[in-house]
Symmetry: C2
Subunit: 409 residues, 2 copies
């Protein structure tokens, strides 16, 4: 009988308990022994819960019980999660977490700490919810050098963009619906709609791909607030869907670029057909070519089932996993990563005639003109050039309302 | 330094050597030590090869070298592969293989043999080529009960169906092109076009999902020979693409049904957009919902990279993998599995008026009528009923040229 503890009994944490109980038989078969939740750490009062006996408020109880070999962290954030996870790893206990903020911020340090104490630090659920991404990436693609990762890793914004496309909603309507359905935070939906959540996830995947820590604060990230109904229609006219894309590119010489931005994705690209709350991550390996992992990116039981799979892995293999699931510490960069590769860009402008754009943007063409706004496709520009173009248009009294890079097919 | 041996220096076997050399650095990082190919077993003469020194013709050389811990089997078939793999496992060496015929036929036995000798028997490359399917299935979905698997697992037929759809080729033209491009065997393309290859793969996935051996000879399998240009057009009119689908369904009480058949796949289903030589496998877990794994289903380097990933795994984790990658021996069934679930069926008939069909098929409607043939959609029937319908039509002097079940969205 393997005993585990859960820290943080919120959505995912309570899901972990539920998954452990509902699939106890098959989990036992895979782990080689039954898995039982012995403690649940949570500061709130659960004395009325049928599982009241499991709850503790002091991590010392967990740390002083030699029976507990694996600890699940589902507190979220870093304030409590980070020191607690450190303590668990330092005590030689393996930790399985769904906490992308903690992994994106302290991943290298916690991986090294785990290694030093012969424990495992696993976080499959931090990217893609229940969809297997990190494990196949470091394990099945072990014989590949990964050159590119492109993905839809935020279910909330993908749900909103799908509603905007299919039902003609605008950003505010789609956000309201996402909040009503519990997909977006009611108080501050910024983590999702401004791309911070996606940024943490791509930072984790980029770190794993390149082998050293990539910090979210060095990854330029923007969300979908600027995307309007006119842009969604223009995308359709261009044979594209607008998706919030998290991407990273490795040059094979240690150089890494990454970003999060809404992009025009051609229908011929697999990612264009990924709708609703689904996530999909495409990876390019030098031996393998492209693979795509697709599934629900969030949700209580899907995410919890990924955490429990990590628990099974930690119980079976312990620290042996670490040779492949590992990246080195690195200092943050001084500034932002820059994407200097030119690509076609769609812009929506107002208070400027499209006939005036050509001298500023180079070759391009108008996609639509309505309500004093124009959609315009620039044949090729870098992100820096797009910023310069926006400045120039501003000096002319105009405005670039949104810019969307075209993803290659 | 870890030493390995390769048995069978064909396409995949030579790819394994190439992958080990080209990505030596990253493989060493993941395995925790460099990986070197010490022997290559092949009966053919490679004395002119730059690697001539590695070749041996006697498996005894490998079995008597204690340095060799992991053996790659890429001979194919079962005549030599099976006894050689048995010998390797009996000697306590782990085996990594891409040989779907051997795994589908002897999987349970070889897994038990590996377990008994504290070795690993790994076969990620046997399904989906380089695309990670088996590892995420048994590892990342460890906390799920899998209820359904639906996939495109044969790249050759998917390439042919794509050509038939996009370029209006008929079966013979598409087959000829697939043969010219090396996707289909020239002598006997039957393994691919008659569904035997897909049948072995779904038998492997079904065995892993249900926990006991499912034999290919119990899985009804048919290929795409009957699919004509008219059917491809009818599919389009119905909002579908024709795909060779390998599927299995578990009832949660130990019951398993599986099959391989060309099906009408609605465009709204992820699998409808999987074209060319790509493979995709969709799995439904009780906690997770649907996940899809997508990538190239074949090819020298992709497949070899999956074999090498297994080698890394075997070196790191050895027999520990086996608690989850395992199924029990079972006797073959006396007859074929039967799919008794009703579904809409498309049939193409000749020498019978569609007005005559209604009393035989129950509710349905004509899709097209041309050149004396009619496409007809039956609202609901079981596979057995479709066989009865075909018999009745025959007694009327007509003929059912093809029947295609409609996959649910």
């Amino acid at each position: 009988m393997a005993k585990i503890a859960i820290m943080g009994f919120g959505t995912v944490g309570s899901g972990v308990l539920e998954v452990c109980r509902r699939n106890a038989g098959s989990i036992a078969r895979r782990a080689g022994e039954p898995v039982e939740v012995k403690y649940i750490l949570d500061v709130r009062d659960f004395s009325a819960s049928p599982d009241a006996a499991l709850f503790v408020q002091d991590i010392g109880v967990i740390l002083s019980d030699p029976e507990v070999k694996v600890v699940v962290e589902t507190i979220g954030g870093t304030k409590f999660a980070y020191p607690f996870v450190r303590q668990c790893l330092e005590s030689g206990r393996s930790v399985c977490t769904s906490n992308k903020e903690m992994v994106a911020t302290y991943g290298a340090e916690l991986l090294a700490l785990a290694k030093a104490h012969d424990a495992a630090f696993l976080f499959e659920a931090s990217v893609g919810g229940g969809t297997p991404i990190i494990t196949p990436m470091h394990q099945c693609l072990a014989a590949n050098t990964i050159s590119e990762i492109t993905g839809i890793v935020n279910g909330t914004t993908n749900f909103m963009l799908t509603k905007m496309k299919r039902e003609g909603m605008d950003f505010a309507q789609a956000l309201k619906l996402a909040q009503e359905l519990g997909y977006a935070e009611t108080k501050d939906p910024g983590d999702d709609v401004d791309g911070r959540d996606a940024c943490r996830k791509i930072a984790i995947l980029a770190s794993l791909a390149c082998g050293h820590h990539i910090y979210p604060q060095n990854v330029p990230a923007r969300g979908i607030r600027q995307v309007g109904v006119a842009d969604v229609r223009a995308a359709d006219a261009l044979g594209c869907a607008i998706k919030l894309i998290a991407w990273c590119r490795l040059d094979g010489k240690g150089g890494v670029t990454a970003g999060v931005e809404p992009m025009m994705v051609p229908f011929t690209n697999q990612l264009a057909n990924v709708d609703d709350v689904f996530n999909a991550v495409q990876m390019t390996g030098d031996m393998l070519g492209d693979v795509v992992f697709y599934g629900k990116g969030a949700g209580k039981l899907p995410t919890a089932s990924a955490v429990v799979a990590d628990v099974v892995d930690a119980l079976k293999n312990g620290a042996a996993i670490h040779d492949s699931l590992f990246w080195k510490p690195a200092a943050p960069l001084a500034g932002m990563m820059e994407n200097d590769r030119p690509a076609p860009y769609y812009i929506r402008v107002k208070r400027v005639a499209t006939t005036m754009l050509h001298p500023i943007t180079g070759p391009g063409r108008e996609i639509f003109f309505e309500n004093g706004e124009a959609g315009y496709l620039i044949e090729a520009a870098t992100a820096a050039q797009i910023a310069q173009i926006a400045e120039k248009i501003e000096t002319m009294g105009g405005e670039v309302c949104v810019n969307l890079r075209l993803l290659a097919e």
